[in-house]
Amino acid sequence: MELEDLKKLIEFLKETDITELQLEKDGTKVKIKRERILSSIEMPVQKSPVFHEKITQETEEETQRLVTITSPIVGTFYRSPAPDSAPFVEVGLRVKKGQVLCVIEAMKLMNEIESDADGIIVKALVENGQPVEYGEPLFLIEPM
């Protein structure tokens, strides 16, 4: 990583609420830690919301293109069929409609949740073993 890149990164971070960042690239590790200054003068109160708005807009556009797989039931989310076995799917994997993506357990019913789209998994939104609610987004799939 070049010094110039690092400067840019630090400048970028100043505009955000991020206080700590670790980055590893081509064998170089960088750790940046910022103290948040809680004085009214230093806080970029005006800037921050604008920045967030932009991010939100982009995310929405992105999400519209993607297929969201939601939980059809309330239960516990598992990425693999048993604790010692491999996950059904990983981010970056191409999946077919009808392929099992995960299991949601509710009352000793192991519900294998199928994909309803052909595409690539771009995001897994829930951690293994976490409770999920009815309609909660589980995966984002880029249709192909």
Binding site: P72, I73, T76, K108, N111, E112, P131, Y134
Partner: protein
Amino acid sequence: MKIEDIKAGIKGETGREIFFYETVGSTNTIAAELAEKGAQEGTVIIADSQEKGRGRLGRHWVSPPGVNIYMSIILRPKIKPKDVTLLTIMAAVGCTAALRKVTGLNVTIKWPNDLILYDKKLGGILAEVKTAPKEIIFAVTGIGINVNMDVKALPDDVKKIATSVKNETGKLYSREVIIAEMLNEIGHWYKTLKEMKRDVLLSEWQKLTSTLGREVQVLTGKETFTGLAESIDDEGMLKLRLPDGLLKKISTGDITIVR
């Protein structure tokens, strides 16, 4: 095991077609394979022994030959995925009613569907369901009942928590008679479920359970809660009254009765 004896006792549609195996990995695995190939609702898979009998979270289910019941039923309920947990309630009610009828013993249900006799586990039910976003494709309800198993011969950790009908009564029971009665009762309660007589099903479960009104410890994936098992909701999920007065809904977990 005599399949013709089971068939002779069957009154309804559940169990009209039975596949019997001496030994399988797991009857649930076979049932899921058959369901994928289009096996019709009510098809039953029975094995004399299982090499990879399993419970929740891939736990082992002790499945020796010649003594117990290992059975899976293929169902294709046309209900909303949200209501799929009623299958658990239905299977627990059906199995408990049948065991009470045949043995006369006070078998009860521990939430959601463990079959309990004198505070020990007599049987377990594990369902595996293939769910599309808006429909249930198929459900496999796996049932394991300890009938004539000699509990004394089991490993210590299992012996502490498990029992069998023979262990409690000293008598041998016909597995065929119990299976036929279970299929009849399940057929009956499955009809109730398909007709969405939710209240009838839930109130029958409440009559047969020994969990409600007790202080229980619930071990969910990462957390443990202790409280009063107050009631179940419309999907059969447990409503636990915590010491701070809040009501917590439990969808998944291992229950231990504290008192």
